[in-house]
């Protein structure tokens, strides 16, 4: 339990210390980011050795105490968050002079890490509420870091986030009124399929779908993710939207009575359909580079939502595997594409997609990172996106969902269209650059790193599936 506790308390206390001693903010932040990764790795190893672990904080009875629980999935997500946080910290350090990142970035992103890690560990409805609330607030604050122009999208984000938290809290309160418990394992299997519970679950689901930007509740996301500084966008798209998805998965598979599963699966499937099609089309049409990447997040979340819908409908391991493989692959690919796109925009000095003309010559590294990450978003082998799509395809063939196979095909083509919209432009002949044009290399390499990682993912499909405890 000790490493798990450290994973949360280290960034939390560091964030507080940073507020006290702003002068040491950066070094504190980097220290924590560096420490978190081996710690999370060690923790994952412990889980693999000793199996699932759980603790009741403070040692009280389950009714009072907060329950933390970690299986290999949680440990994997903890490690992923720590790794991406370290990567983004490195990127922020490399570009801070040029991009003039405000000092508030360091404590805020440490807080972000703390709330995320707590979210992966918690198994308690109210504790999740606290994590979600903190996560939302910190995310909004991070969006505002890019200055006045980000205020409107950030305010929007704040309102949606607050509304979502409220919905979630209402649902949780209804459940508490009925059962007097908030602890997930205590509640599991207790809920009857009555109207009150239906209402409660609907409210919880609504709140979580809003936070996870499931279509059509995604409208706050593109503007907010596009307006934030590149380092922040990467964290938001790669990790923050996955938190509510994680809760959604656990609430539905462990808490909700089976009688509700079918209607819920239709709801999720509908949301997935909209996300895959309209998210893709929007990414294809938007004139701005970072909006393109943000809309791609909306579309890609559709795959995860679709997998969730089928987890509820068919008892196939393929769908559970597909869900988490999509989350992992998307986190890596999206971190890479946001960092690459941010780097391209900052260096070339324009937000427009059209400014990327000839970027394969002027900034080959960043463009390569974007293209490689895009390959995973499309699902080209041997990337992580391919692995996830392969699992989903096998599941869909097995359950004979031919309509959804068609949807998957169309969504894949849309993803190819929006990725190659940028890549083709980059192969255009470049305009001559100014003589003092000297792109920074380090941030570009940092953007390339997760992109290469996601392409290596499929080669480690067996260990990954073992971690997810699924067999294809």
């Amino acid at each position: 339990m000790f490493p798990a506790l450290l994973l949360v308390t280290l960034p939390l206390s560091a964030a507080l210390l940073m507020l006290l001693w702003p002068r040491f903010a950066r070094s504190l932040h980097v220290t924590v980011a560096l420490l978190s990764v081996p710690l999370a790795g060690y923790f994952l190893q412990q889980i693999l050795l000793h199996g699932e672990q759980q603790w009741l904080l403070g040692g009280w009875s389950p009714l009072l105490a907060i329950r933390w629980q970690a299986d290999s999935l949680s440990a994997l997500l903890l490690l992923l968050s720590a790794l991406l946080h370290l990567l983004v910290s490195g990127y922020a350090l490399a570009v801070q002079a040029r991009d003039r990142l405000p000092a508030a970035f360091w404590p805020l992103s440490s807080l972000l890490l703390a709330s995320l890690q707590a979210l992966w560990l918690a198994r308690d409805l109210f504790n999740w509420y606290v994590c979600l609330e903190l996560l939302g607030m910190v995310a909004v604050a991070l969006v505002t870091l890019s200055g006045d122009k980000a205020l409107k999208p950030a305010l929007n984000y704040l309102l949606f986030s607050l509304f979502a938290s409220l919905c979630y809290l209402l649902g949780v309160a209804l459940l508490y009124a009925g059962y007097g418990a908030l602890d997930l394992p205590l509640l599991a299997g207790q809920l009857e399929a009555n109207r009150l519970n239906a209402m409660a679950l609907l409210l919880i689901t609504l709140g979580l779908m809003l936070k996870a930007a499931c279509w059509p509740l995604h409208i706050w996301l593109p503007a907010a993710h596009a307006a934030a500084p590149a380092a922040v966008s990467a964290l938001l798209s790669a990790l923050v939207v996955k938190g509510p998805l994680f809760i959604l998965y656990l609430v539905w598979t462990e808490l909700a009575p089976q009688a509700f599963w079918l209607p819920a699966s239709y709801l999720f499937a509908l949301a997935a359909l909209g996300a895959l099609l309209f998210g893709g089309i929007a990414a294809l049409r938007t004139p701005y580079g970072k909006s393109l990447v943000a809309y791609s997040t909306v579309a890609q979340l559709g795959y995860a939502t679709l997998a969730l819908a089928f987890v509820l409908r068919f008892n196939l391991p393929e769908f559970v595997a597909a869900l988490w493989l999509f989350v992992l692959a998307h986190a890596l690919a999206k971190a890479a594409s946001f960092l690459a796109m941010g780097e391209l925009q900052q260096t070339l000095g324009s937000k427009q997609v059209s400014a990327l003309k000839g970027a394969s010559q002027t900034m080959p590294l960043a463009m390569f990172a974007f293209a490689v990450a895009g390959g995973s978003l499309i699902g080209l082998p041997p990337s992580g996106g391919f692995l996830a799509k392969w699992a989903l395809l096998l599941g869909l063939w097995q359950s004979q969902q031919y309509f959804w196979l068609l949807v998957l095909a169309v969504a894949t083509l849309l993803a190819a269209a929006y990725v190659f919209r940028v890549v083709v432009l980059a192969f255009d002949r470049a305009e001559p650059t100014a003589p003092d044009f000297a792109p920074q290399r380090l941030p570009q390499y940092l953007a390339l790193l997760p992109a290469l990682a996601v392409w290596a993912m499929a080669l480690f499909s067996m260990p990954l599936l073992t971690l997810l405890k699924q067999e294809l």
């Binding site: 082998p381 392969w390 395809l393 063939w397 067999e471 294809l472």
Partner: protein
């Protein structure tokens, strides 16, 4: 050679072009000598390794390399006689094309990027040839798309970007269909290694519709690259790419990847028996026959030399598909040997078209009048290549068409022979006037943009030598078809060893 090294031979053959390619990306534009050295090093290494492998496979050895990939479907690189046919073809023609490209792109910008992707493209082709199961094949099929796209758009002009978009739209859709088909088959039968005679026969009893769907998906996916009608639309437009790219795309890499895949699917995944039992050969046969005639017919109308060659490719590659779909041993020999012969002949023609364009600025067919006196060597190569395409002995094309015709007669499909005759006539109609113009036409205006590329030869030696080399291959393959070294004998060996025909 060490035994442990032999285990890695298939991997080394792929890496021998991949690693130099990756290194080339990092080079600066001015490092011409180093780049050329890396290119030639890769080519030489690959040829040596391929030679070793060829010797081994001839002796009946097998090479096998496995990396863990998807659950139930490892990445497998293996060498059988069929994969070696394609490996040898692509490695030898890569040698010619690399030298040609070095000469062709002298002084043009962005050469590091070009040669980097060029090497990746050959690596993907060789990987595809050595692929030991469908999942591995799919992987390299997609990588080939990604590696060739930058070559198609290399010039960065609006036309080439439009062509690149179209190319991607077609090939990525094709890859998607292939992926759907592969995943369906994986679910039905797993992804075992390619097996002579196929591995799907046990499934016949439990329903045929899904198998038919899988076959249709696979063939549609492969048909895009093999330019089967109506999936051929990308090919004529992709002509805007530089000449060495067109040569490589048409002769070896892309269209052949599709055709090779069809051979694999019919013989090593489904197997002749299953294809017969499911009635799958007919649609493929008709489609291929139609594409042959359609391509030739469209080629007639083209006034641009490269465009005419492009439509000719559409037609000629379908000979391979047709030979496969006939499901007879002789037709199979014809199809396999045509895979090689068409490659060598088409690459010669593209080299020549590139020579005309680079040396004299000739793009249109009517500008070719009297070019035979100005560039006799190139024109000789073009003439032999064209005659071979028509199927006139002693060029190589005659051999393959002869076997295809025999194969059609063997399985009692005389109408197919009629298709061959008709297409041969059309071939003559679109190639002979060009040849006539070259040698007997009267030059009516000055050459569009003549350049003096060499003081001793009619053009730069690096442009001339590859076309002479492939010209020699055409004649040798035609004249010595019955010797043990010829592609014909090798194709017979493949059919004998690996395609299980019961009769």
């Amino acid at each position: 050679m060490q035994a442990w090294l032999l285990d890695y031979l298939p991997l080394l053959i792929v890496l021998s072009s991949l690693l130099p390619g990756l290194l080339i990306f990092t080079l600066k534009e001015q490092q011409v000598a180093l780049r050329t050295f890396l290119n030639l090093l890769g080519v030489t290494l690959k040829l040596v390794l391929v030679f070793l492998m060829w010797q081994g496979v001839k002796e009946g050895e097998s090479y096998y390399y496995r990396i863990a990939f998807l659950p139930g479907a490892d990445l497998i690189l293996q060498a059988d006689a069929l994969s070696l046919l394609f490996v040898v073809l692509s490695s030898v023609l890569w040698l010619a094309t690399t030298i040609y490209a070095i000469g062709y792109l002298e002084h043009s910008p962005l050469r590091s990027r070009f040669f980097g992707y060029f090497s990746l493209c050959v690596s993907a082709t060789v990987g595809l040839a050595l692929a030991g199961n469908l999942v591995t094949f799919l992987l390299f099929y997609e990588l080939l798309t990604l590696a060739t796209f930058p070559l198609v758009v290399h010039r960065g002009t609006p036309q080439s970007l439009a062509a690149g978009r179209r190319y991607l739209a077609y090939t990525l859709s094709g890859g998607l269909l292939l992926m759907l088909g592969v995943s369906l088959l994986h679910l039905l039968a797993g992804s075992p290694d390619f097996t002579p005679g196929g591995y799907l026969a046990p499934l016949l009893a439990s329903g045929s519709i899904l198998l038919q769907v899988a076959f249709a998906l696979l063939i549609a996916g492969l048909g895009v690259k093999a330019a089967l009608f109506p999936l051929h639309g990308w090919l004529p437009q992709a002509m805007v790419a530089p000449a060495p790219v067109s040569a490589l795309l048409h002769a070896v890499a892309v269209v052949k990847a599709g055709a090779f895949g069809i051979v694999r699917v019919v013989y090593d995944v489904f197997g002749v028996e299953v294809v017969r039992a499911l009635d799958l050969a007919w649609p493929l046969l008709f489609l291929a026959a139609f594409t042959i005639l359609f391509g030739s017919w469209r080629a007639l109308a083209q006034q641009d030399l490269k465009k005419r060659l492009a439509y000719s490719t559409i037609s000629q590659v379908s000979y391979i598909t047709l030979g496969v779909a006939l499901l007879g041993p002789l037709a199979a020999v014809g199809a396999l040997v045509h895979l090689v012969h068409q490659g060598v002949m088409k690459i010669t023609l593209f080299f020549c078209a590139g020579n005309y364009a680079e040396t004299l600025g000739i793009h249109k067919i009517r500008e070719l009048n009297g070019v035979g006196r100005q560039m006799p060597m190139t024109s000789l190569a073009f003439t032999i290549g064209a005659l071979g395409m028509i199927g006139i002995p002693p060029a190589a094309g005659f051999i393959s068409k002869w076997y295809l015709g025999l194969g059609a007669a063997e399985v009692a499909q005389p109408w197919v022979i009629l298709v061959f005759v008709l297409s041969g006539l059309l071939n003559a109609c679109y190639f002979l006037p060009v040849v006539y113009r070259i040698w007997f036409g009267v030059q009516y205006s000055a050459w569009p943009s003549p350049q003096r590329l060499s003081s001793r030869f009619e053009t730069h030696w690096m442009l001339l030598a590859p076309s002479m080399f492939t010209l020699g291959l055409i004649l040798l393959m035609g004249l010595f078809a019955s010797t043990e070294l010829s592609p014909l004998s090798w194709s017979e060996l493949i059919v004998e060893r690996e395609f299980s025909f019961d009769d």
